[in-house]
């Protein structure tokens, strides 16, 4: 059996597309929260295959996109310090701060390195005791266990030159914020399978009941998403409000208790500002008091840096699914993947970047 190929069976995929199209009586507006899922939908053209049956609203689930401007500016301030090796996942390198991005800071001499794991950053700290190694701990609940692990291991081993710049966001409070909006059109959610792998889906059961809206927890392969959407359309057509789990091969209702325990040990829930959306109460994570020495904002005294966002960019409304990227006055003009104003244009998982690529095709065909 070849890896992943079993989730990429074209015959089965076409059957699911036919099923969804047959089953759906209207173009159900549903949101996939997670940017990884947006990426798959766009990459395989699933959104087009389902046109008329399901209208996919791309949610705020790109952690790169929602990292607040001031966090980026704090990252830059830390990265510029002589003694610092600043480490990050690749997708944060080009996210614009108020003046520049990490990649440009690197070009001007900052020691910024792309890593694949916070554990790699910790290893750098062990190897370079004379330097300060900082990891940009960004992400949803999915990345929280690895980040928590790195902090916990540094604590256990007494690694003094390692710290994390935390910008962790939580999915359920964001869904709540979206559903509190009286104008919302969303009728159903595809819940993120990786987040639920860690956290389980009990929180989504509460949300489903509060807002009378169905959820399907789904994975990231094209077949996962097609099957998840088929289940969601079934629920919508039958008017059922429940949470179903498509991603049973990874997700159980309680999530991963060991992962939740380490996250609980190292982090606590905190208020968080989402780029483009604004503050959402209890929607993020910060380090607990006893791990505060590993907090880079505290260690490098950058917590006071604060910034206002660009007034042209409508990233917030786009991330909430209220507007399309083409509604933005800067779209394709001041703002492009080469010169992004807002984060949804940076990440290939961002809605603006995805639209930008497709608009090029449409214009070329016109």
């Amino acid at each position: 059996m070849k890896y992943v190929d079993e989730y990429r069976d074209p015959r089965l995929a076409r059957e699911l597309v036919r099923y969804i199209r047959r089953r759906s009586t209207r173009p159900w507006p549903v949101m996939e929260i997670c940017g990884g899922q947006t990426h798959t939908l766009i990459r395989y053209g699933i959104d087009q295959l389902l046109e008329g049956a399901v209208t996919l609203i791309h949610g705020p689930g790109c952690p790169v996109c929602v990292t607040p401007l001031e966090k980026i500016d704090r990252a830059l301030a830390i990265a510029r310090r002589q003694e610092v090796i600043f480490t990050t996942f690749g997708d944060m390198m080009r996210v614009p701060g108020s003046e520049t991005d990490l990649l440009s800071a690197k070009a001007r001499g900052a020691d910024v390195r792309m890593v694949y794991s916070p554990l790699d950053a910790l290893e750098l700290a062990r190897k370079h005791p004379e330097r300060q190694v900082v990891f940009f701990a960004v992400g949803f609940e999915t990345t929280a266990p690895a980040n928590a692990m790195a902090v916990w291991m540094a604590h256990q081993e007494g690694v003094k030159n390692f710290s994390v710049l935390v910008s962790h966001v939580l999915v359920p409070p964001a869904i709540q914020a979206l559903m509190e909006d009286p104008e919302t059109e969303i009728k159903g959610f595809i819940a993120p399978g990786h987040v639920c792998t860690v956290m389980g889906y009990q929180e989504y059961e509460t949300l489903a009941q509060s807002y009378r809206i169905p959820f399907v927890v789904a994975g990231f392969e094209p077949l996962d998403l097609l099957q998840g959407l088929a289940m969601l359309v079934d629920l919508l057509e039958e008017g059922r409000v429940e949470v179903q789990n498509q991603y049973t091969r990874s997700v159980c209702r309680e999530g991963n208790p060991h992962a939740r325990a380490i996250v609980e040990e190292v982090f606590e829930v905190a208020d968080m500002t989402w780029r483009g959306i604004g503050p959402i109460p209890k929607s993020g994570l910060c380090l607990r008091e006893r791990y505060r020495t590993f907090d880079a904002e505290f260690r490098f005294e950058v917590a006071t840096i604060s910034r206002e966002e660009s007034s042209v960019c409508i990233a917030g409304e786009i991330l909430q699914g209220k507007k399309k990227p083409v509604d933005c006055p800067a779209f394709g003009r001041e703002c492009s993947p080469e010169h992004p104003l807002g984060a949804p244009m940076v990440s290939s998982e961002g809605a603006c970047a995805a639209y930008y690529a497709f608009r090029r095709l449409q214009e070329a065909e016109a």
């Binding site: 890896y3 990884g36 794991s117 949803f140 990345t143 266990p145 690895a146 792998t197």
Partner: protein
Amino acid sequence: MNPSRSEQLVEGVLQQIWQQGGHAYGEVSVGGARVVVLLDLVPEVSEGDRIFFQGKVALSRVSDEIR
């Protein structure tokens, strides 16, 4: 393309497990490419299991159940 995407879950087959410095590690094969991941958060896994990992930390054992 997005090198080193932060939220990515990767699936692979656990080839070998060992203990080092109080932690469990495993070598995972993803279609023949091998990488070392931390197994502390999935203590129930054994060699030959399929797992999901993120940032070189295993997060779940992939069950055989595929709907």
